[in-house]
């Protein structure tokens, strides 16, 4: 009995179309890809004044430092007035005014700060309506902390705004 064995046929699949589609997809993803800059947050607490707080009140109220940001021409920063009920200081329009503010806060915390004290220090900003938001962020940054040897030294964490929304 003669058994015929046929050699298996090689089936060649044309992959050209698949490669074309793959390149189309790649171009689509490259064109729609968007590299977004890293964002960060500053948290501010604005509790409703009408509602009582659920927290147990401290024996002593928090120490408040009031910082007034005054606007000049075109919404640029003019002066920074600091008042902590003990002394008042004004930082004039200069390149280093925010650095001076940071140094003032740092000295204030070092002079008053007792690690065992439960008195918290918080900052209340009184900001002119016309002041550009970028300067507000610089002020928040100035009181929040500073970079020392590549590390962040935290200063004040409790920040709130005085309501000046009607000035516009």
């Amino acid at each position: 009995m003669k058994i015929e064995t046929e050699e298996p046929e090689e089936i060649e699949v044309n992959m050209t179309a698949m490669i074309d589609i793959v390149f189309q997809l790649l171009i689509f993803f490259i064109m729609t890809f968007n590299v977004a800059p890293q964002e960060g947050d500053f948290t501010i607490k604005m509790p409703l004044a009408s509602q009582p707080s659920d927290e147990i009140p401290l024996d002593e109220p928090p120490e408040i430092i009031r910082i007034a940001l005054r606007s000049g021409d075109e919404g640029k920063i003019s002066t920074i007035n600091v008042d902590d009920d003990v002394e008042a200081q004004t930082f004039g329009p200069s390149e280093t005014m925010f650095g001076d503010l940071t140094n003032y806060i740092e000295e204030k915390l070092a002079a008053d700060g007792d690690p065992e004290s439960e008195i918290e220090t918080e900052v209340e900003f009184d900001i002119d309506y016309e002041l550009r938001y970028s300067f507000t962020v610089k002020a928040i940054e100035a009181v929040s902390g500073k970079i020392v040897d590549g590390k962040i030294k935290k200063l004040i964490g409790n920040i709130k705004f005085k309501n000046n929304s009607n000035g516009g």
Binding site: Q38, D41, E141, S144
Partner: protein, 148 residues
């Protein structure tokens, strides 16, 4: 005169398999990284820059992102709102959505992405409007200076 026979030109076949492998690798890379949701961050807003800003808290239960343009327009969920004063119903709707997910209004994180040149009064007006709807937790979002 001796004429040399022209040699038949050889067809060089290059192996393109590694190129196709790399192409698939690139496709997989972009497919994993690409994010089509533009409703949360409005690209036309230039955030102020700060090096002290804390990286965003990914553990927030419920958040709403309000983008504020210099002219006072607010962009929320892809919708442009011309006036902050008319945001009340929109905020109340969002709070109702949060309460359906068992998140109280006081626990809703309001993330404000304001343009650097916007007036601070507009930001305060927006915060005040949110407070009228009993929102208490606010986050001011900025660009991390290290990424610039």
């Amino acid at each position: 005169m001796k004429f040399k026979k022209k040699q038949k030109s050889e067809i060089l076949e290059g192996d393109l398999t590694p190129m196709i492998d790399m192409t698939f690798q690139l496709i997989a890379f972009f497919m994993l990284l690409i994010n089509f949701s533009k409703v949360d961050r409005a690209e036309e807003i230039t955030l102020p820059v700060s090096e002290l800003a804390v990286p965003p808290d990914g553990s927030l239960e419920y958040k709403m992102i309000l983008n504020l343009e210099p002219g006072g327009n607010v962009i929320f969920a892809g919708q442009r709102i011309q006036n902050i004063d008319v945001m009340g119903p929109i905020l109340n709707q969002e709070i109702a959505n949060a309460e359906r997910e068992n998140v109280a209004a006081a626990d809703v994180a309001v993330i404000i992405r304001s343009h650097a040149d916007a007036q601070t009064g507009l930001v305060q007006k927006l915060i005040s409007k949110c407070q009228d709807s009993e929102l208490e937790s606010f986050v001011l979002r900025v660009n991390d200076r290290e990424s610039k």
